[in-house]
């Protein structure tokens, strides 16, 4: 197992360097230096030269890239010129809020989706199953911003139950936790979409498991239905959902870009959006890298968790 993890981590390093190289090359193709963003378009040729030299943008691009990688090793993501702060400081400030938003939505969706999927499987082809399936397919086919817009119109603008966006009073992770009404719509939007996906997978997996001999055996030896479902079915049927949760890790920490923009929620997604609008490309590179790192780690985490949950799985 440890050898497997080390090999995967080494592969992850190569993947991240590759993503960094592609992102770096693309951004440098669009704008070789952020000098105009910093000094303005009226900067003199002399001032541009001086600034580029001071900040290393006069060096060959391969040297710039190697220097960037070296900084990454030291967790230095560069300086956000438009935000006038180090990128790492900005990430530290926003990561907690994004994690809270996506984490809460993820936990909430698991709490709803796992039992829902099992109940649908047990009561399959019943009116309740059909109704839940219809709702799930509708939600599953919906982009997050579309569902968010509908919820804003319905719950915020028409009924006035919740604010349509997160106000500026939410300035820290703690304040996000202490303002549940403000966070209701973004969390419920994310959670509903996850519920749709997770419960479909859960239902499908539970149907497969219900047909297995060990379930019949458990029932035959007189175990209660609740015991069958909770002790035998849940663990085995959850394996596919574990993979899905692993793949959700990037959105868990990198934030949900569209939801944060839609609800005005200050997290990593909104930071990236602001970085785009300000052409602050150190923020853009860092966000892309973070996404790559989390995707790789999420996959690894899912594999390890499956191995832990299913004794039949051997990593190697």
């Amino acid at each position: 197992m440890i050898g497997y993890i080390i090999r995967r981590l080494l592969t992850a390093v190569i993947v991240v360097i590759g993503v960094a190289a592609i992102t770096f090359a693309m951004l440098h193709y669009v704008a070789p230096s952020p000098v105009y963003i910093v000094l303005g378009t009226k900067a003199t040729h002399r001032a541009i030269e001086v600034w580029n030299r001071q900040h290393g943008y006069d060096r060959p691009e391969i040297i710039q890239f190697l220097s960037y990688l070296n900084n990454l090793i030291h967790l230095n993501f560069g300086y956000a010129y438009k935000f006038s702060q180090p990128v790492s400081a900005l990430f530290r400030e926003n990561a907690g809020r994004s994690a809270y938003l996506s984490g809460t939505a993820l936990v909430l969706s698991l709490i709803i989706a796992l039992p829902l999927g099992i109940v649908q499987a047990v009561k399959r082809n019943s009116p309740g199953d059909y109704a839940a399936t219809a709702v799930n397919f509708t939600l599953y086919s919906m982009p997050s911003f579309f569902l968010g817009l509908i919820l804003i119109q319905l719950l915020a603008l028409d009924l006035g139950w919740f604010p349509p966006g997160v106000s500026d009073t939410v300035t820290s992770t703690l304040s996000a936790i202490t303002h549940p009404r403000q966070l209701f719509l973004p969390i419920i939007t994310l959670a509903l979409l996850n519920v749709a996906a997770f419960s479909r997978y859960m239902r499908s997996a539970a149907l497969d498991e219900l047909a297995q001999d060990y379930i019949r055996l458990a029932r035959a030896k007189g175990l209660s239905e609740r015991g069958v479902l909770m002790r035998h079915l849940l663990r085995n049927a959850s394996l596919s959902t574990i993979t899905l949760v692993g793949l959700s890790v990037p959105s868990l920490l990198a934030g949900n870009l569209l939801i944060e923009i839609l609800f005005n929620y200050p997290g990593l997604g909104l930071l990236f959006y602001n970085g785009l609008t300000n052409l602050d490309y150190n923020v853009m590179i860092a966000y892309t890298l973070l996404g790559a790192i989390l995707t790789v780690l999420g996959n690894l985490l899912a594999d390890i968790t499956i191995a832990a949950a299913d004794p039949r799985v051997r990593l190697g």
Binding site: T41, K42, L157, G165, L258, N274
Partner: protein, 653 residues
């Protein structure tokens, strides 16, 4: 003198969406349309169904109804919307080029009293009552300017505001521009401020500037000292005269090195968002103090400055909330959580009936300046540089532009047609209305006749080509070979960023093709590319010089004294198409140096006739004000000029 490039869409949002953001916005727009929250259809329907009238008020054309002045209550909070990317990025009143935006200016004027404040309501003129000094007195053949700072003004630390504080700003500005012109966004040329001041003396509240040459007093007051609030400010010399180590440097007037060190310190602290709450910025003389600044989304809160020496005294706390999009801002207005916001004329007019039912006042007026597309006089593709160099061709383009239809059908009445650099509204105190009339009114038949008269083989709906090359009176023009088409690339912002800009361009292209066989090919570029790369005045623009024939990034906020100096002179920093006319250069110099009031009218008339850019209607800035908010009429009108007069708003009793 200063001009600020203005984005096409919304309330002066200078830096617009690009790339992925634009795509996301487009997706969101589709979703919004699908859900019925907003759509072009219901926008148009609502626009025609709303009963918002239009009337001339205080010299400008106001559509809708201004809010009532009301009676100020003590205290209360007014929430104000701002859009991501359209927020202040600097706090130092000596604003650098990279921080140059109306949003930064508005923060500066909320914290510091400009030496000369503008506008005066919607009128492009100095507002004496909100200025730190009395009107300047010119003498010695307009080579000497005497400025008297109003007595009784105080810094929030109790120190008096005096002429030394004005001199402090002057010397620091000079140090900044000496280091690099990019360090001061109002820098125009080595012959203008601060370099047209030979020397200055100050004592008590009186400061005297000795200029290098005679100037037009109106130009010097409005475009150099006032300069759309980017000009001079008294700054607290006794508190800010320190370098980055905190060492006191009191010889800034005589030692340029020390002045540079002080400016460096101010500039560093003033552009670093996390330093906005530095105690240094708490020493203010303006109506407000900065209470908090959110470095994540640039939201901020202002509280009244009890030391403010002018009237009206501020009473309310101002809470500036940042929204990720105009849609999010509109949602906040609908939910009643926002007191002052804006509407996008291209996409959000459909919300007006609901907002009116909710008690909001909605009104708009045209901004000072012009909108239009810059011609590229260096684009050699299809010999476009030679084609567009012909004044009659530019006149033909103007005659093919149906401005009235654009104002009515695309802006739904929230725009004012114009034919030159000075729009008919708001009325200019310096230009007679006759100079604002277009000498090239919409007339496709006349346009076609002009082309034929100059030797073009006109093919309506086809491709018109030059049939008679040559520089004679009935020939196409110098350097245009036989068979040359009138074809060029027109660069716009994405539709998601500027729907109106795209639509009006298409309106022109359609008319030009149908009536005169002129072929326009569209290209979509971000606002940043249009201002930074499609610009023949910057080194980065060289590689793109043949990529565009027209650059329609929006328009220009013109200085109150509406000379085009800086925009249309050959090396003007905003002359992105490299228009080059010795006559124009001469007229602009005359405008800024001659005391004659006729000079500026002559210049404006010249540009209206020459059409160095393709002028489009000037859109309104639309404001939405809740019934909770009262204020001075001037403050409400100033919003049409995207100027936030902070002391002019209050919570109603």
């Amino acid at each position: 003198m200063r001009f600020i490039p203005e984005s096409r869409s919304g309330a002066g949002r200078l830096w617009r969406l690009s790339g992925l953001v634009a795509a996301l916005a487009a997706i969101a727009a589709v979703a919004v349309a699908a859900t019925g929250l907003s759509s072009a259809k219901n926008t148009a329907k609502a626009a025609s169904s709303t009963t918002l009238g239009t009337k001339v008020e205080d010299g400008t054309l106001i559509k809708g109804t201004l809010p009532k002045n009301g009676t100020p209550a003590r205290g209360g909070t007014i929430t104000i919307g701002q859009i991501t990317g359209a927020t202040p990025t600097g706090i130092n009143p000596i604003i650098a080029g990279a921080q140059c935006s109306t949003f930064t200016f508005n923060l500066a004027t909320s914290l510091f009293i400009p030496l000369y404040y503008g506008p005066n309501g919607a009128s492009p003129a100095v507002n004496g009552s909100l200025s730190a000094a009395y009107a300047p007195v010119y003498s010695n053949g307009d080579k000497t300017v005497t400025i008297r700072v109003k007595p009784g003004l105080k810094w929030s630390n109790g120190q008096p505001v005096n002429a030394e504080d004005v001199a402090f700003d002057y010397y620091l500005t000079k140090a900044a521009t000496n280091a690099s012109p990019a360090n001061w966004c109002q820098y125009a040329s080595p012959t203008e401020f601060p370099y047209n001041v030979k020397s200055l003396t100050y004592h008590g509240n009186v400061l005297v500037m000795h200029l290098t040459h005679s100037v037009n007093p109106t130009w010097f007051t409005d475009n150099q000292l006032q300069d759309t609030n980017g000009g001079l400010y008294p700054l607290p010399a006794s508190s800010w005269d320190v370098n980055s180590s905190g060492q006191k440097l009191t010889d800034w007037a005589t030692n340029p090195t020390d002045a540079t060190a002080i400016w460096n310190n101010l500039n560093t602290l003033g552009t670093n968002l996390s330093d906005f709450m530095n105690p240094l910025w708490q020493v203010v003389d303006g109506p407000y103090k900065l209470k908090s600044f959110n470095t994540v989304n640039s939201s901020f809160v202002l509280t009244p400055n009890s030391s403010y020496g002018l009237k009206p005294k501020p009473t309310a706390t101002l809470d500036f909330n940042t929204y990720t999009s105009t849609t999010a801002e509109l949602n906040a207005l609908k939910a009643g959580s926002l007191d002052i916001g804006g509407l996008d004329a291209g996409t959000q007019l459909g919300a007006i009936p609901q907002l009116q039912r909710d008690g909001y006042s909605i009104y708009g007026g045209p901004g000072w300046g012009w909108f239009g597309g810059f011609y590229n006089f260096k684009d050699t593709t299809n010999h476009f540089n030679k084609v567009i160099a012909q004044p009659y061709i530019r006149g033909v383009f103007a005659q093919l532009t149906n401005e009235q239809a654009i104002a009515t059908d695309i802006y739904h009445g929230w725009a004012v047609p114009t034919g030159g650099p000075v729009a008919p509204y708001p009325k200019s105190p310096f230009v007679p209305s006759v100079a604002t009339k277009s000498p090239w009114p919409y007339n496709p038949a006349a346009a076609v006749a002009t082309l034929k008269a100059h030797g073009w083989n006109v093919k309506p709906n086809g491709t018109t080509r030059c049939a008679k090359p040559g520089a004679g009176p009935h020939q196409c023009g110098a350097g245009i070979p036989k068979g040359t088409p009138i074809s060029f690339v027109w660069a716009n912002q994405p539709y998601s960023s500027s729907s109106t800009g795209v639509l009006e361009s298409e309106a022109f292209a359609s008319e030009a093709k149908k009536a005169a066989g002129i072929n326009v090919k569209f290209a979509t570029k971000s606002f940043t590319i249009l201002t930074s790369d499609y610009n023949n005045q910057v080194p980065a623009g060289k590689q793109y010089v043949n990529d565009w024939g027209v650059n329609n990034y929006g328009g220009i906020f013109v200085d109150y004294y509406p000379t085009q100096d800086g925009v249309m002179n050959t090396t003007g920093s905003l002359n992105v198409g490299y228009y080059n006319s010795p006559t124009a250069n001469r007229l602009m110099i005359h405008s800024i140096s001659s005391p004659s009031a006729a000079a500026i009218a002559k210049e404006v008339s010249f540009f209206a006739k020459q059409q160095p850019v393709l002028y489009f209607p000037v859109p309104d800035t639309i404001s939405v004000i809740s019934k909770k908010v009262g204020g001075t009429t001037g403050a409400f009108l100033a919003l049409t000029q995207q100027q936030f007069d902070a002391s002019g708003f209050w919570v109603n009793k």
